[in-house]
C-alpha cells in the first residue's frame, strides 16, 4: 500500500465511526458534533485524492456553516434535548435499508472499477480549473445559483418572521 492508501484507510475508518455514532447517539447535540467528524473526514479524503478545492469547500461549507445551521435548528426545538431517547420503531427497517443500499453501491462500484486494477490519475491544481469552467463554460448555472440562494433567503425571512401588525 502507498502512503496515500494508508491515509485513506485511517480517514475512512474515523469517518465511519463518526457516522455510526452520529445515528446511534442519544443526545442530538452530540450527534451534530459527530457529524462534524464525518464531514471533516470526507473533506480530508477529497484532499488525499487531490481535489483540493472540493475538499476545502466541504470543510468550509459543511463543517463550518451547515453544522452551525443544524445547531441553530436544534436550539429552536422546544423539547429539552437531554438524555432522552431519540428512537423510533423503524430502527430495524432503517438498518436493513441502509445495509441494502450499502451492498448495492459496493457491488456497483466494484463491478465498474474492480479492486485495484486501475491506476487513477489525479487531477491537480483544481481551483484554477474549477474557476475556468465556472466562469467560462457554466456562467449561466452560476448566475442561476445566485437566484436559488436569493429565493432561499427571502423565503427563510418570510417564514421565520414573526407577524407584526403593519
Amino acid at each position: 500500500m502507498t502512503g496515500q492508501e494508508y491515509a485513506f484507510v485511517v480517514l475512512a475508518l474515523v469517518g465511519t465511526v463518526g457516522a455510526v455514532r452520529l445515528v446511534t447517539a442519544k443526545n442530538v447535540v452530540h450527534a451534530a458534533l459527530y457529524l462534524v467528524v464525518t464531514l471533516a473526514m470526507v473533506g480530508s479524503i477529497y484532499l488525499v485524492l487531490g481535489a483540493e478545492f472540493v475538499g476545502w469547500v466541504q470543510i468550509l461549507i459543511y463543517v463550518g456553516a451547515i453544522v452551525i445551521l443544524f445547531l441553530f435548528g436544534l436550539m429552536l426545538t422546544k423539547a429539552p434535548i437531554g438524555r432522552e431517547s431519540l428512537d423510533n420503531q423503524q430502527r430495524g427497517l432503517a438498518l436493513l435499508v441502509a445495509l441494502a443500499v450499502l451492498a448495492g453501491l459496493v457491488f456497483l462500484i466494484q463491478d465498474a472499477f474492480h479492486w485495484g486494477d486501475r491506476k487513477m490519475n489525479l487531477v491537480h491544481n483544481t481551483t484554477g480549473e474549477v474557476g475556468r469552467s465556472i466562469f467560462q463554460h457554466y456562467v449561466l448555472p452560476f448566475e442561476a445559483v445566485s437566484f436559488i440562494l436569493l429565493a432561499a433567503l427571502i423565503g427563510a425571512v418570510v417564514l421565520a418572521r414573526r407577524e407584526e401588525r403593519e
Binding site: L108, A112, Q136, Y138, I148, V158
Partner: protein, 484 residues
C-alpha cells in the same frame, strides 16, 4: 476558449431575471396597501419575456458551449411556461391580496420558479438541468408553505421540501456517476458515449440512469413516489397548487424528456419497461384512490397523479421504432393536460372564496349560482377524463395511437390506459353531478373577473383544440430533439 454569449437566445431569461430583482426591490419600498402592485409588475415582465420568446420561434441557437440550446422544442415549452405563469398570476391577485399574505415575496418566488421552468427545456447539460430543476423547486417549497398560520400549509411545504431534497440527492448521485462513466455533462456527448463501448461499466451506467429516473419520478409524482403530492396540493395556497400541478410538473417532464430521448436513448431497452411499470401503477393507483376523495383539491391531486401515468406511457415506447411519435404524444399530452388542469384550478380558486374547506359537496348548486364557472368546470372534468368533444380526447388519442403503433407492450399499455380512463369518469363526473343535480344554498357567487376570465379562456381553448387539434398537435413533431 472564450465563448461569446448569444444574448438574443437568452433574452427571455434575462428579462425574467431583471423583473425578479425589480419586483423585490420595489416591494421593499411599497406601503402595505399597495403591495399588490407587485402583481401587475410581474405580469409586465412575464409578458415582455413572452414577446421575447416569440421572436425566437424557428430559431436554432446554442450558447454557453452547447450547454444551452434554443430550438423549437425549447421555444414551445418556454411559450407554454410563460403562458402558465401569466394565468397563475391572474389567479393569485385576489387570493393573496385578500389573504394578506406576503405579496411581493410571493410574486418574487413564483417568478423565480418560472425562471427555472423557462431554463429547463433549453438545458442540454446535466449541471444546467440540475440547477434549473432546483430553481423550479426551491421557491416552490417556500410558496407552498405561504399560508403560515395554517398547519396544513406548513405540512405541505415541509413534506414537499423533504421529498424534493431527497429526490435531488438521489438524482445528483446518479448524474455524478453518469459523468464518471461518460466523462461529459453534455447530453448529446453522453448519448454518444453511452452508445459506444463502456469498458465494463455498463451496469454502473444503467444504475446511474435508474437513480436519475428515480429522482425525476419523485418530481413528477409517479408511483411509488407519489405520496407527498396530495398533502402538498391540499395544504398549499390554491394558486400555488395550480402552478405545481401544471408548470412544475411539466418542467419535470421536459427535463425527463431531454434526458431520456437524448442522453439515454441507447439504453431504452433497459428503462422502457421501468417506465411501463411506472406508467401502469401511477395511473391505476391515482385513479383508484381518487375514487374515494371527498375534497376537491385532493381529488385533483390524485387526478394529477393519474394523469402523470398517462404522460409516462410514451416513455415506455422508446426504442420500439416510434420514438418521434411517442415523443410528440408525450409533449402534446403535457400541454393539453396543463390547460385543462389550470382551468379546473381556476374554478377551485373561485369556489375557495366561499368555502376554504373545498369539499366536493361545496360545489352543490354552482350551476345556478355561477353558471359560467359551472359550465367551464364541467368541460374541464370531461376533458380530464378524455371524452370528446374536448382537447383531453386528443391528448389520450395521440398517446393511444403511439402505443398501438409500437405494438407489443405498447398495445397492452394502451388497453390499460383506456380501462383507466373509464374508471376516471366516475370521479371526474362527481363534481359536475354536484354542480348540476344537487341543490345547494342559493346565493349568487361573485368571482373575481380575472379568475372567471381564466376559466372561460381555458374552457374555450379546450373546445377549440378539440375542433382543431393542429393548434397544439402541430408543434411537437417539429422538434428536432429526437431522431426518427
Amino acid at each position: 476558449m472564450n465563448p461569446t454569449i448569444d444574448y438574443h437566445a437568452i433574452l427571455p431569461e434575462l428579462i425574467l431575471s431583471g423583473t425578479l430583482v425589480v419586483v423585490l426591490v420595489v416591494d421593499v419600498f411599497l406601503r402595505p396597501p399597495r403591495k399588490w402592485l407587485a402583481m401587475p409588475l410581474s405580469f409586465a415582465g412575464v409578458l415582455a419575456a413572452f414577446v421575447a420568446t416569440l421572436t425566437l420561434i424557428g430559431a436554432d441557437r446554442t450558447t454557453f458551449g452547447g450547454s444551452y440550446h434554443v430550438d423549437p422544442f425549447a421555444v414551445l415549452f418556454k411559450v407554454f411556461f410563460l403562458s402558465v405563469a401569466m394565468i397563475v398570476l391572474f389567479l393569485s391577485l385576489r387570493y393573496f391580496r385578500e389573504g394578506r399574505y406576503y405579496q411581493g415575496e410571493y410574486y418574487f418566488l413564483l417568478l423565480s420558479s418560472v425562471l427555472g421552468c423557462v431554463m429547463m427545456p433549453s438545458s442540454r447539460d446535466l449541471l444546467m438541468l440540475f440547477i434549473s430543476l432546483e430553481l423550479v423547486s426551491a421557491p416552490a417549497f417556500l410558496i407552498a408553505a405561504f399560508r403560515k398560520n395554517d398547519p396544513r400549509s406548513n405540512e405541505a411545504g415541509l413534506k414537499f421540501f423533504l421529498i424534493g431534497v431527497l429526490s435531488s440527492a438521489v438524482m445528483l448521485y446518479g448524474m455524478s456517476l453518469i459523468y464518471g462513466v461518460t466523462g461529459s455533462t453534455n447530453l448529446y456527448e453522453i448519448g454518444k458515449a453511452l452508445a459506444g463501448h463502456l469498458g465494463g461499466q455498463e451496469t454502473l451506467a444503467l444504475a446511474a440512469i435508474l437513480f436519475v429516473v428515480t429522482g425525476f419520478a419523485f418530481k413528477v409524482s409517479a408511483f411509488p413516489f407519489q405520496f407527498w403530492a396530495p398533502d402538498t396540493y391540499e395544504g398549499a395556497p390554491v394558486p400555488v397548487t395550480a402552478f405545481l400541478a401544471s408548470a412544475s410538473k411539466a418542467a419535470g417532464f421536459t427535463g425527463l424528456l431531454q434526458l431520456m430521448f437524448v442522453a439515454f436513448i441507447h439504453q431504452a431497452a433497459f428503462w422502457g419497461p421501468v417506465f411501463a411499470a411506472f406508467s401502469i401503477f401511477t395511473m391505476s393507483i391515482g385513479n383508484l384512490v381518487a375514487l374515494q376523495q371527498r375534497q376537491a383539491v385532493r381529488l385533483l391531486a390524485y387526478s394529477s397523479i393519474a394523469q402523470a401515468g398517462y404522460m409516462l406511457l410514451p416513455f415506455a415506447l422508446a426504442g420500439h421504432g416510434v420514438d418521434k411519435e411517442a415523443f410528440a404524444a408525450a409533449v402534446t399530452y403535457i400541454l393539453i393536460y396543463a390547460i385543462m388542469n389550470l382551468g379546473a384550478f381556476a374554478v377551485v380558486v373561485a369556489v375557495s372564496r366561499k368555502s376554504s374547506a373545498l369539499l366536493i359537496a361545496d360545489f352543490a348548486g354552482l350551476m345556478r349560482n355561477a353558471p359560467l364557472l359551472a359550465l367551464a368546470m364541467t368541460i374541464f372534468m370531461v376533458s380530464l377524463a378524455g371524452v370528446p368533444p374536448t382537447a383531453g380526447f386528443w391528448g389520450k388519442f395521440f398517446v393511444f395511437r403511439a402505443g398501438i403503433d409500437a405494438g407489443g407492450i405498447g398495445i397492452a399499455l394502451a388497453v390499460v390506459m383506456v380501462v383507466n380512463s373509464v374508471i376516471s369518469l366516475f370521479y371526474y363526473l362527481a363534481i359536475p353531478r354536484q354542480m348540476i343535480l344537487v341543490e345547494g344554498p342559493e346565493e349568487p357567487m361573485r368571482s373575481p373577473a380575472l379568475v372567471t376570465f381564466v376559466a372561460a379562456l381555458a374552457a374555450a381553448a379546450v373546445i377549440a383544440v378539440f375542433v382543431y387539434p393542429d393548434l397544439i398537435a402541430h408543434f411537437p413533431p417539429l422538434s428536432t430533439l429526437v431522431g426518427s
